[in-house]
């Protein structure tokens, strides 16, 4: 097995007693205390995450807008500098290669991609870009720290006062002390918060500064691991690549049509356009279990004694204290209120399909 990569914050996690796990080739903190306590911290106060494992790809060069537009379902030519877009890379079949964030820089784009897909995305993009447009993998030179939760702004203003004016899915380029940083109002928790891109070696300093900024504000800032990151995103019904979406799933099936802009040309467009006309055979839904048992990835979904789909994510929701999950069912069953059955270890467990996020998001629009 290849040796796990370590983020520049690895020693800090270990010093804080984090339980470390291998994740997408990196050694990452799963939890520091407990998943539920870290989850609650983010919902009620603020939490700090090391997300350095995420990939960052820069695309630049004359004509990069149109070159990138060929590869993404959302339309990056609509972005002005300082704006961010959620977007997808698709195969010609319409299958999702990755879900990504696209940051519009003055001189190009920064793509933030899933850690497990960084190498794959880089090769895919590189093979499709025409000169003089280039892609550069910045994953090894950038660290990423997120701060999420209702107290995030009160903490962040002590680092950069301008963040109070920053809107959701916008970013600003600034300096923290003497190094450059990108601060964006984004996240994966459904709470207000920021993601902070800094040079690799400045991550420990930034982590420390955020702790001090919280102290100045008289607020607590707890470290949060990947365990709570998963329960937080699942309560928002945000899909996770590798669980809820992958190359065999199209954006229309995953309820991601809102980031598919058919009025521009991109790889996968024809297949998706055809699927839109003919209709999908399965759709990603969220459900709440009515009986005991936690739904987990891979568990079959039944309806009237017939297997109709599969669970892609599930957990005990720390906020709701209910077992929640996501999975694919035929569109005829996607209506909220429909009761399906999950096969949980040879036992049928009833679950009710629900609309929208399990917990209301509180992002700042």
């Amino acid at each position: 097995m290849e040796e796990l990569r370590k983020t520049p914050l690895n020693h800090i996690h270990k010093k804080m007693g984090a339980k470390m796990i291998p994740f997408a080739g990196w050694e990452m903190p799963l939890l520091y205390e407990t998943i539920s306590s870290e989850h609650q911290k983010v919902r009620t106060q603020a939490g700090i995450f090391d997300l350095t494992h995420m990939g960052e790809l820069k695309i630049y060069g004359k004509g990069c807008e149109l070159e990138l537009a060929k590869l993404t379902t959302n339309d990056p030519t609509k972005l002005s500098p300082g704006k961010i877009q959620y977007s997808l890379l698709c195969l010609p079949s319409g299958g999702i290669i990755d879900d990504i964030l696209v940051y519009r820089l003055e001189d190009g784009f920064l793509l933030v991609v899933n850690a497990a897909n960084t190498a794959k995305d880089y090769e895919w993009i590189k093979s499709h870009l025409r000169e003089p447009v280039k892609v550069e993998n910045l994953t090894d030179s950038l660290a990423l720290i997120a701060i999420q939760g209702p107290d995030s702004e009160k903490i962040m203003v002590n680092i950069e006062p301008a963040v109070s004016e920053l809107k959701y899915y916008n970013f600003l380029e600034t300096k923290i002390q003497n190094f450059r940083a990108i601060l964006s109002r984004t996240g994966y928790t459904g709470e207000d918060g920021f993601e902070i891109y800094i040079p690799w070696d400045e991550a420990p300093k930034t982590w420390e500064l955020l702790g001090e900024a919280a102290k100045i504000a008289g607020l607590s800032l707890a470290p949060v691991g990947l365990g709570a990151r998963d329960t937080l995103r699942l309560e928002m019904k945000y899909p996770l690549y590798g669980n809820d979406i992958d190359e065999s799933i199209t954006p229309l099936e995953a309820n991601l049509e809102w980031v598919v802009k058919f009025n521009h040309s991109f790889i996968g467009r024809d297949a998706l356009f055809e699927q839109k006309a003919s209709g999908v055979k399965k759709r990603l839904v969220g459900f709440v279990a009515l009986d005991r048992g936690i739904p987990r990835q891979g568990y079959p979904i039944f309806y009237q004694e017939k297997k109709v789909g599969v669970v892609t994510s599930g957990t005990l929701s720390p906020s709701l204290k209910k077992n929640i999950g996501m999975g694919y069912v035929p569109p005829a069953l996607e209506k909220p209120g429909t009761v399906i059955e999950l096969l949980i270890r040879e036992k049928k467990v009833r679950a009710e399909i629900t609309a929208g996020p399990f917990v209301p998001p509180r992002i700042k629009k």
Binding site: K19, L30, T34, I35, S36, R292, G293, I294, L316, R345
Partner: protein, 129 residues
């Protein structure tokens, strides 16, 4: 990590024998593997079980694990505190995180259980890459 006065199973239960009663829980190794127990399904008191039967289920954030009866007998007590505080299995696996008590049907089965030294070598083998 593994108290000397307990007996152990290959499936990572511990047993504390007090006269004809066996107090049963899971070891610190088991709770560590489960990371964070969020739900414990307990059996009914009074149920007769055979060694190896599933007697409880631990649902964790990571996985789900069965607890097997280390010995045959009657379940005479279950730890109802775990219904509201499943985290006790993680926090105090040999104390407040106990799971149930079995009235031992026949003492001879106790000889099938492992002593601490054997259990420790089992764990060392499991942890080998």
């Amino acid at each position: 990590m593994y108290p000397e006065d307990l007996l152990y199973t290959k499936s990572h239960e511990w047993v504390k024998v007090e006269d004809d009663r066996a107090i049963v829980g899971v070891t610190s190794y088991a709770q560590d593997q489960l990371v964070e127990v969020v739900f414990v399904e307990l059996p009914e008191e009074g149920k007769e079980v055979k060694a190896g039967d599933t007697v409880a289920t631990l649902e964790s954030v990571k996985a789900v694990a069965d607890v097997y009866a280390p010995v045959s007998g009657k379940i005479i007590e279950v730890n109802k505190q775990l219904e509201n505080q499943p985290e006790l299995v993680n926090q105090d696996p040999y104390g407040e995180g106990w799971i149930l008590v079995i009235e031992i049907a026949g003492e001879e089965e106790l000889h099938t259980l492992m002593k601490v030294s054997d259990y420790q070598s089992l764990i060392e083998n499991e942890l080998k890459p």
